[in-house]
Symmetry: C2
Subunit: 341 residues, 2 copies
DNA sequence: AGGGTTTTCCAAAGCGCTTTTATTTTTGCC
DNA sequence: GGCAAAAATAAAAGCGCTTTGGAAAACCCT
C-alpha cells in the first residue's frame, strides 16, 4: 500500500492525501478525516526512504562509536545511554542508527555519513582530549551533540557532560576528610576527556589539602574488573599501602573489592573505596544502603537528554550550540570509613 | 556532489557513471577507471536514500530490542552483541538500525518497520517462550534471524543460539561430580527462552543423578548483582544451606560472591559457584586462571555470526532458514571445589 | 565493402514521496 | 445572480539514484 494506491482508493490526488496526512491546512476537515480513516483501515505507512528523499530529512540520528583497534572493549555504559536516547527518538518518531567506526578512518567515516544522507544528526561518543571530530563535524555541517566534552577544543559546540572534575574533587575530598592520606586513583584511559578531568579533580583535592601527588598510586586503564583487581592487589602488597581507592567505574571497584578480600582486609574498615557510578540498570549499587560510596550520575538520563538536545538543535539550528553540565550525586555507602590509623 | 554533477563533469551520462561505479560489465575498462578516479577525487558518495528507493534495498539491518515496561533493564550482553554484529555490517557496507520497542505494541512496531522500508532484515533479540514475533515476521515477510530460539514455536525460522540446556546440564553435573547435592540455581527470567532452557538443563542433571529438585533453591529474576547477593544471602542463612550455586550471569555471580564473603564463608572451599559467562569485554573472567568456573560462550561472536547469517539470508532467501547452535566451553576457575562435608 | 555482432554509451522511466504551481469548486458579498 | 476572493483539489516537477530499451560505435566476418 503506497500513496498512489491510497489516493486512487479515495478518488483523490496524491497531493491531497499527502497533505491531509501531514496536517497541512489546505485541505478540508471532512476529507482529512476521510483520508486518515482510510489510511488507518488500510494500514498505510509512508515509505521513509521516499519521504526522506523528497524532504531531505532522514528522520534518523546516528550514534558513532569509535572502536579503537587496541582496545576492543565495548563501553558498558553504552547500552544504558542508548536506552535513554532511544526513548527520546521513539517519542519523536526518529530512528537510531549505530555506526561502529575504527578510529583510524574516522574522518572518512563522518564524511561518508554526511554524504550517504541516512541521518539528520549524530551523537558523538567517547570524546578524547582535543578531539578532532568536533572541528570536522562543524566543518561538514552535520548537527551533532557530544556526550562529554573535549579539553583544548575551542570551537563552540553542543555537549552534555557530567561534572567529572567536580565529582572527583568532591569524592577525593570526602576521603581526605575521613582522614585518608594515601589515596589511589584507578582511572579510565586518560586520553579520554572524562578520565582526564577526573584526574584533575582528584589532584585538585589532594593539592587543596596539602597532600602530595604520588604517581605510583595512580593508574589509567580500560575500566575492567581485572584491572581494578590487579592494580589494587599490587598496591595493597606494599608496605606503605593506600588506605583508599578512587575508582572510575563500579566494575573496577568490584575488582578492587575482590583484591581487598583476598588480602584478608575488610572493606571500609581497612580500606575504603569510592567510585563513580553510572547508575547502570544491571549494576545497581545496592538497594537502600548503597554497596559503594559513589558519585552517581545516570548515564541513561544523559542519553535521553542528549537526544532531546540534538533533536531540538536539528529543528532550530540557530538556537545552538547548547551545553548542559550534569552534577553527580555523592551517595554514602558501605565502602568508606575513617582511615585506619 | 551527486551523480548528475559527476556525470556532467565527466561528460558521460548518469547511466554510464552509475554502471561504472557499481561494477556492471557494459562499460569499458578505460571509462570505468576514469569514472572511479573522478569519483575518488571529487569525493563522490551515492545518496543511500535515493539508492534505496531505486533498488528497493535499504542497506540496513534493524535490531529490535524489546523494552518491557516492568523491567527497565538494558541487557548488558547487548553491547557486545552489537559490537560483533557491527563488524559484519561494516564489512558488508550495511548500516545498523536500533529500535527500542515497548513490548505492548510490538506487532505494530514490526509492521511499521516493514512498511517504512528502512531495513532489509532484522535481528530479533530476547526471544521468549512461544514468541509470537516469529509468526508475525514470517507472515509479513521480513527476513530475520533470532538471537536465541523460542520453545513451542513450530514454524521454521533462522536462529543462532548457545546450547543453554546442554551447558547448564554439564555445569550442574560438574558440581555434582564434585560431591555437591544442594545446588542452587539463580536463573534469569524464565519466560525468556534461554533461561527456560537453562533450568531444563539444570533439572536434567539433578534428575540423572537422583537428586530431587528443590524449588526453594531455585530463583528466576533479572540478572543483576543485587539479585545474586540477596538470593545467596537468604539461602546461606538457612541451616541446610546450599553448597553450590549455578548462576546465569557473571554479574549475578559477583553478587553471590559478595554474599559468601559477607557470611564469612570462603569461595570454592565452603561454597562453589559456576556461572554462565558471555565473555563480555568489560567483565573478563580473570586472566590465566579464571575467577569463576564458567560456561563460556562469546556473545560478541554470536553477534557477528548472526549478522552474517542474516546478510546471506537476504542475499539468497531460498537458502534459508538457517540455524546454528553454539556450544559453551566449560572452563575451570577458582570458584569451585569439592563439596564441604 | 557490407551485413551482422558485440561493445559502449545514453535517454527516459520509475522508485514513493513532497511541494510548487495551476485549476476547479465553494463561499461571501452587494 | 454575478463576481471576486477563498478554499479545495489536482497536475506535474523534483529528490538522487537504478535500470530498461534503444541507439551509436566498434569490431568481425565473408
Amino acid at each position: 500500500m503506497n500513496l498512489k494506491q491510497l489516493s486512487e482508493h479515495l478518488n483523490l490526488s496524491q497531493t491531497t492525501v499527502s497533505r491531509a496526512l501531514n496536517g497541512y491546512p489546505e485541505v478540508s476537515e471532512s476529507t482529512r478525516t476521510r483520508v486518515l480513516k482510510a489510511a488507518q483501515d488500510l494500514n498505510y505507512r509512508p515509505n521513509l526512504r521516499a519521504k526522506g528523499l523528497a524532504t531531505g530529512r532522514a528522520l534518523a540520528i546516528g550514534h558513532v562509536i569509535p572502536v579503537s583497534n587496541q582496545h576492543e572493549m565495548v563501553n558498558p555504559v553504552f547500552g544504558d545511554f542508548i536506552a535513554g536516547a532511544g526513548e527520546s527518538y521513539a517519542r519523536a518518531g526518529y530512528d537510531m542508527m549505530l555506526k561502529l567506526v575504527p578510529d583510524r578512518d574516522e574522518t572518512r567515516a563522518y564524511e561518508d555519513i554526511r554524504a550517504r544522507g541516512t541521518v539528520d544528526g549524530i551523537i558523538v561518543h567517547g570524546p578524547v582530549i582535543n578531539d578532532e571530530r568536533i572541528a570536522l563535524l562543524s566543518r561538514i555541517g552535520l548537527p551533532f551533540v557530544v556526550h562529554g566534552r573535549s579539553t583544548d577544543v575551542n570551537l563552540p559546540y553542543s555537549w552534555i557532560d557530567v561534572n567529572n572534575r567536580g565529582a572527583f574533587e568532591r569524592g577525593t575530598q570526602f576521603l581526605i576528610e575521613l582522614g585518608h592520606k594515601r589515596i589511589a586513583l584507578l582511572n579510565g584511559l586518560e586520553h579520554m576527556d572524562f578520565a582526564f578531568r577526573r584526574r584533575k579533580g582528584y589532584e585538585t583535592a589532594l593539592r587543596n589539602h596539602g597532600i602530595s601527588i604520588d604517581t605510583s598510586l595512580m593508574r589509567s586503564e580500560e575500566m575492567t574488573e581485572i584491572y581494578g583487581y590487579r592494580a589494587a592487589k599490587e598496591m595493597l602488597a606494599r608496605s606503605q599501602k593506600p588506605t583508599a581507592f578512587v575508582c572510575s567505574s563500579i566494575i573496577t571497584a568490584i575488582g578492587v573489592r575482590r583484591a581487598i578480600h583476598e588480602a584478608g582486609l575488610v572493606l571500609a574498615r581497612d580500606v575504603s573505596i569510592i567510585t563513580h557510578d553510572d547508575a547502570l540498570s544491571y549494576l545497581e549499587n545496592g538497594d537502600d544502603v548503597p554497596i559503594f560510596t559513589a558519585l552517581r550520575s545516570s548515564v541513561r538520563y544523559a542519553g535521553s537528554e542528549a537526544a532531546d538536545m540534538l533533536l531540538s538543535l536539528i529543528a532550530l539550528p540557530q538556537k545552538g550550540p547548547k551545553t548542559r553540565l550534569l552534577e553527580a550525586d555523592l551517595i554514602i555507602g558501605r565502602s568508606t570509613g575513617p582511615a585506619a590509623t
